[in-house]
């Protein structure tokens, strides 16, 4: 998952901060607390995850505990990919 972590970090820094991150984005840093993400940003993030990892994200899954930090994203994505790999519900 290290590569995925880097991909996610790259997306967040490039897409929301346009490469301008004065302070390093740590795995547990909240996107909301750091003001990185706005209401459109959540939509962009969902579109990115669905397009890049071939998963489908349900409305009820769009919550900070899934999406609000690199580590949350990793945990969420890992679970989604595992289910998808097992042929379960996307």
């Amino acid at each position: 998952m290290n590569n995925i972590a880097e991909e996610l970090r790259h997306f967040v820094v490039e897409n929301y901060l346009f490469g301008r991150s004065d302070v390093e984005l740590k795995g547990d840093d909240s996107f909301l607390d750091r003001g990185i993400i706005d209401s459109t940003g959540v939509l962009e993030l969902v579109t990115f995850l669905e397009g890049t990892y071939q998963i489908q994200i349900q409305d009820e899954e769009v919550i900070p505990s899934n999406l609000d930090s690199i580590n949350n994203l990793l945990r969420f994505l890992e679970a989604k990919l595992r289910i998808a790999g097992n042929g379960g519900e996307p």
Binding site: F18, G19, L32, G35, D38, S39, T40, V42, I63
Partner: protein, 651 residues
């Protein structure tokens, strides 16, 4: 309506009339009908005239009986008829029928207090030659612009900044604190302008320059205390309609025909309906429609026009049109923009001018004074939620507020809570209503270059705003505080200037705004918020007052903010919009780097995102428009300046 400029000489330098001519020549679109000058050994006054009242006799600069007082004046005094009668009764002799002459004699009679008797929209300078005093003033709400600066002991003023920049020795430099303010509030806080060393006379202020001393004082305050808590709905409705009708009536005083803008919304329809009640003639109305249906309101415009039997003209606006005129728009706004919304208004005034009209009435000001904006409603919902933070139902009202923002609809509560600031600390803030907007806008500072980041980080625009607020602001209710912020800052700094005066005057068109008659404004400030916004029904009192006068569909229609396509006007992901050369050039890594304001790598990433069609949010749209318009300001006013070239040619 006109343009003014002037020089008050200091020291022993010669007053160069050619420079004065150049200063006014740069803003001749404000007054193409005539130009006039007055010079003596101390002062030079210039005037560009758009003839509206007393077409044959109102030439300026104008003087009193013994030529000791001279005025150069931009605007209209709508109660000039009544003031003239009073002044004649006191023995003043008039040689014209103009409102300008009323100003001259009123100054003789009342001195600097004359402004308190005026009902109108003005920016003027009076030279009192006996006292060697220059007296300048700007109307209460800031409808008309007035800027000033000084260089080498010489005081300069003008309707627009470009007149001042035309004077040799005036530096052309971006004020970084002002840029910081603009990337927070959407406007600079007067007296600051985006140009270092150039000031704006704040609305409702007068100034004198005498013996080398400058004195600035407010003569009017927008005051929300005390509210008339006993206000009864039906009497308030009657008073509002009566005042608004008279405000419209005196704004029809003109020796040229008066038309109206019809946006399809409540306010402009109300004004057109009142005009219809007051005049015999058919009214000419003008609208913008958009090719992009997301922004188009033409169905409502047609409905209003047909209901009121107006002679209606429309201009259809495409992405391409906005991109094409944007550099000219910035030449006129003289400041960066975060929205393209002024550009269609630039095209609209061209349409008005093309039909031979010089004067239009609009519904501007109603949303500020009678409580129409979403920001008021949003704050009300946020406060309601904040009072019971664990409520599951209250945050859902926010989704109802913005039905046209699709991505907001699916937001879970945790996200809404963070975006809309309903924490305990937020609730205590005197800027509670505007926190989400200002915080979102402040994100644009991310694009500033490392060189100017330190300046930005060391300066707090909110602290400066706090210092400017009247002391009783902090005792007002939240609704009134929000109204004050809109009326004192966004209204003059953006709505009335970038979308108003500058766009209309670019094509020699004067806007008049009955909702901004000070009697209406002062009355509205006394009405308790519950009558302005009943639960979440905006402009409730106005809607009650105009029932029957306007089409029911427009009366019941929820407010739709006036917007125009932003990024899509400049950069197209699908190749449908031809790219404009200036966009490519001004956003190129080399230009961004050379101009030094923004970080070129970050800007390239934003441009790339736009080219992929992924710029969908408000923040990214504002960022691209903000960066491009700032680059245009630097390009047209700092790097090169055609007004300076004009002087160099003459000298």
């Amino acid at each position: 309506m006109c343009g003014i400029a002037g020089i008050l000489r200091g020291g022993n330098g010669r007053l160069d009339r050619t420079i004065l001519q150049n200063m006014i020549e740069l803003i001749r679109y404000r007054g193409p009908d005539a130009a006039g000058f007055y010079t003596d050994k101390h002062v030079g006054l210039a005037h560009a005239r758009l003839s509206i009242i007393d077409l044959g006799g109102g030439h300026q600069p104008m003087h009193n009986e013994d030529k000791s007082i001279w005025v150069t004046y931009n605007g209209e005094i709508f109660n000039y008829v009544e003031l003239r009668e009073e002044l004649i009764g006191k023995g003043h002799r008039f040689s014209t029928q103009s409102d300008t002459e009323v100003l001259v004699h009123l100054y003789e009679e009342k001195g600097e207090d004359c402004v308190e008797y005026l009902n109108g929209q003005w920016a003027f300078a009076i030279w009192d030659s006996k006292r060697k005093k220059l007296f300048l003033s700007r109307d209460r709400l800031g409808v008309r612009p007035l800027f000033y600066t000084s260089t080498d002991k010489t005081f300069l003023f003008g309707s627009e900044i470009k007149s001042l920049l035309a004077y040799p020795g005036v530096r052309r430099e971006i004020d970084l604190h002002a840029l910081n303010q603009l990337f927070t509030f959407w406007v600079t806080l007067p007296p600051r302008t985006i140009f270092a060393g150039i000031s704006e006379l704040p609305p409702g202020h007068s100034m004198t320059v005498e013996n080398g001393m400058v004195r600035i004082r407010p003569y009017w305050h927008l005051d929300y205390s005390p509210l008339s808590m006993k206000s009864v709905e039906h009497t308030s409705i009657d008073t509002l309609l009566k005042l608004l009708t008279d405000a419209t009536k005196i704004r029809l005083r003109s020796d040229v025909p008066v038309g109206a803008y019809l946006s399809g919304g409540l306010d402009s329809t109300v004004i057109t309906a009142l005009m219809k009640k007051l005049t015999e003639n058919s009214i000419k109305t003008f609208s913008i429609s958009f090719e992009d249906s997301e922004f188009d309101e033409s169905a409502f415009q047609k409905e209003a026009s047909s209901f009121l039997h107006t002679d209606h003209q429309d201009i259809r606006c495409s992405y391409q049109d906005i991109g094409r005129v944007f550099p000219e728009v910035i030449w006129h706004t003289e400041k960066p923009l975060l929205r393209t919304a002024p550009a269609p208004l630039f095209l609209l005034s061209k349409l008005v001018h093309g039909h031979g009209y010089k004067v239009i009435l609009t519904g501007e000001g109603s949303d500020e004074i009678l409580g129409g904006y979403d920001v008021f409603k949003e704050a009300k919902i946020r406060r309601f939620w904040g009072a019971y933070p664990s409520s599951r139902m209250r945050p859902l009202l926010l989704k109802k507020l913005y039905p046209y923002l699709r991505n907001l609809q699916s937001q879970p509560e945790a996200y809404l809570r963070a975006f809309f600031h309903v924490g305990q600390e937020d609730l205590k803030s005197p800027f509670f209503s505007h926190l989400p907007r200002w915080e979102l806008t402040s994100k644009l500072k991310l694009f500033l270059s490392d060189d100017i980041k330190s300046d930005v980080n060391g300066y707090d625009p909110l602290a400066e705003l706090t210092k400017l607020l009247p002391s009783n602001y902090f005792q007002w209710d939240g609704f009134s505080q929000a109204q004050y912020l809109e009326s004192m800052y966004l209204l003059p700094g953006y709505i009335l200037s970038s979308q108003g005066d500058r766009m209309a005057m670019a094509h020699s068109v004067e806007g008049r705004f009955p909702f901004l008659d000070y009697r209406v404004v002062e009355f509205a400030a006394r009405i308790p918020p519950r009558l302005k916004m009943r639960v979440l029904n905006e402009k409730y009192l106005l809607k009650q007052a105009v029932a029957g006068l306007i089409p029911p569909a427009i009366q019941k229609r929820p407010k739709q903010p006036y917007r125009a396509p932003d990024v899509k006007s400049f950069i197209s992901a699908d190749g449908k919009v031809r790219s404009h050369e200036y966009v490519e050039e001004l956003l190129s890594p080399k230009r961004i780097h050379d101009d030094g304001i923004f970080d070129h790598a970050a800007v390239q990433k934003l441009v790339a995102k736009a080219r992929k069609g992924q710029v969908i949010g408000i923040k990214d749209n504002m960022a691209l428009v903000g960066i491009l318009s700032t680059q245009l300001v630097v390009d047209q006013f700092i790097n090169s300046f055609s007004g300076r070239e004009l002087n160099e040619q003459h000298s």
